[in-house]
């Protein structure tokens, strides 16, 4: 997450840290403000001001309708240039650190997808928006690019991440509110976005030893209440949660064709 942004972060504790990688590919949601009339090199207020543009002479003028019209251009799959002040790593070093140490860098445009881009509140000097977007989308770039299309430039402010995959800010805890006796989400619930398969009792030992398991029955998604089943692909195979008949979480596996489960991460 950008240093200046606030909001939701998925934190794993102990063994659960090994599963955090499976959230990286999840969609994110953000709330933020777009401040028109200013262009900076970081696309937020941290960077150097490159240009300030008067909003009075814009054609078309900066109206709610004009913004709604331009916002439509940003929905869907697109190539996005990340800000040069970004956490993208170039040969192991973050782009923003390279820029701060005076290096000239060039970044590649990345393919991202914006699922939703809503104008929540419009005023002449501040547009409050909400965005649902794919992994790797920079909302600062969305603000900058929208500003370019409006002809006045713009920066992002008050970036707040409101959701990562199925987790939302409403159900999150502030770090100060976490105590030794705070009930935490069990791993298999945290991985509820993956389909789950229940092993036969006699297969459990084999799986826990890291061996491939041939499924005898057609696998059934476990009864996990309101959880969504969004298949996540790891490489070319389907990633699944593996549970014991008593719904105890055993680990993650790849489901290969021919009903073979290849263990990926096993909880000892």
């Amino acid at each position: 997450m950008d240093p200046a942004a606030t909001g939701l972060m998925v934190v794993g504790i102990g063994k659960a840290t090994r599963f955090l990688q499976f959230y990286e590919g999840e969609s994110k949601s953000y709330q933020f403000d777009i401040v028109p009339g200013i262009v900076t090199d970081s696309y937020d207020r941290e960077g150097t001001v490159l240009q300030e543009v008067s909003l009075d002479q814009l054609n078309p003028p900066l109206t709610e309708d004009a913004v709604q019209e331009k916002i439509k251009n940003f929905i869907g799959v697109q190539e996005q240039m990340p800000p040069i002040y970004s956490a993208i790593k170039i040969q192991g070093k973050r782009a923003c650190d390279r820029v701060r140490s005076g290096e000239q860098i060039s970044l590649q445009a990345r393919t991202v997808c914006v699922h939703r881009f809503d104008l929540i509140h419009f005023s002449k000097d501040r547009l409050s928006v909400e965005v649902d977007c794919s992994k790797g989308t920079y909302v600062r770039s969305l603000a900058h690019d929208l500003g370019q299309q409006l002809g006045c430039g713009a920066i992002a402010e008050n970036i707040r991440r409101t959701a990562v995959g199925r987790f939302s800010l409403q159900s999150a805890l502030s770090p100060d509110d976490v105590h030794i006796d705070t009930p935490l989400l069990p791993i298999h619930e945290a991985l509820g976005h993956l389909p789950a398969y229940i092993l036969e009792t006699q297969q459990i030992q084999s799986f826990l030893h890291g061996r491939e398991v041939r499924l005898q029955n057609t696998p059934n998604p476990s009864d996990s209440g309101s959880l969504e089943f969004t298949p996540v692909k790891s490489g070319h195979e389907l990633l699944v949660c593996v549970l014991s008949p008593k719904k105890k979480f055993l680990g993650l596996a790849e489901l290969h064709t021919g009903q073979i489960l290849k263990p990926k991460i096993v909880l000892g």
Binding site: V39, N59, K70, N73, Q148, G151, C152
Partner: protein, 316 residues
Amino acid sequence: MTRVFKISWDQKPLVGPCVLAMGNFDGVHLGHKLIIDSLKKCIDKTGLPGLVLTYDPHPQYYLNSKQFLALTSSEEKNRLLSVYGASDIYMMQFDEHLRLIEAPEYLENFILPHFQPRCIVIGSNHRFGKEGKGNVALVSETCKKYNIHLQEVQLNNTSQGTISSSKIRSALIEGNLEEAVKLLGHPFEYSGHVESGEQIGRTLGFPTANLSLPAPPKLLLPPGVYGGRVTTQENTYFGLVSTGFRPTFQGKTYKIEVHLLDFTGNLYGQNLRVELNFRLRPEIRFEGKNELVRQMHQDKQDFIKKAPAFWPSERN
């Protein structure tokens, strides 16, 4: 003083309200002069700054580098635009973004927000956007939508008939330099520096400066002898310019050789601007040096005969 801004899709400036002339301006011919004149009128009427948006490299060169021949290099283009009174020139790098962008999107998401034009001046035959689908009709529609004044400059019914860069290119390739110069409204020109040559000219009594060849896609004139003027660092001279392969000396590569009239001195390393106004004759293979020298004297006589019609006030 003309300012030239190099811009690209990744570095697009936000330029305030202005009068915008857009086009490729290859050759900066009489039609382009009409566009610049119209731009200047709009500047006077509105009091807004005026700017010229053009592309580098020429889109046709980017799309088909083998077929396209340019009448002017970008430096020559900018100089001529400046001579006609353009004050700010934005040279937009033509790249994949521009090749692939649909014309309406180009107008609405680039031209309009970034330049904020209150008036657009455009030649009637200008095409832009993906596959050249953008035209005056589209600009007109967009201008109506955003209440922008459109000044279309007709290039079909001028005193010289239809003026277009491709018509001038054809004339040059056919060896009809005079027709091309008429449509250009100025001489065809080469700029380059003087390289060391084979120094054959000196032994013939006609020392020539060997001009460095212009970078592609600049058009190379068909082999022949041309008349024009040459500007050195100090002065301007009448000159005979020979282009081609020097068949009398079994030359293999195309060269541009310049003989300055009434000049003695050393030009090595100097930058020359060579203006060509008319064609005297095609390139001929002579049997020997003597015949060539006789012809060169004849060329000089022909030049002197023709010169007063081109430079009446400077006859010598």
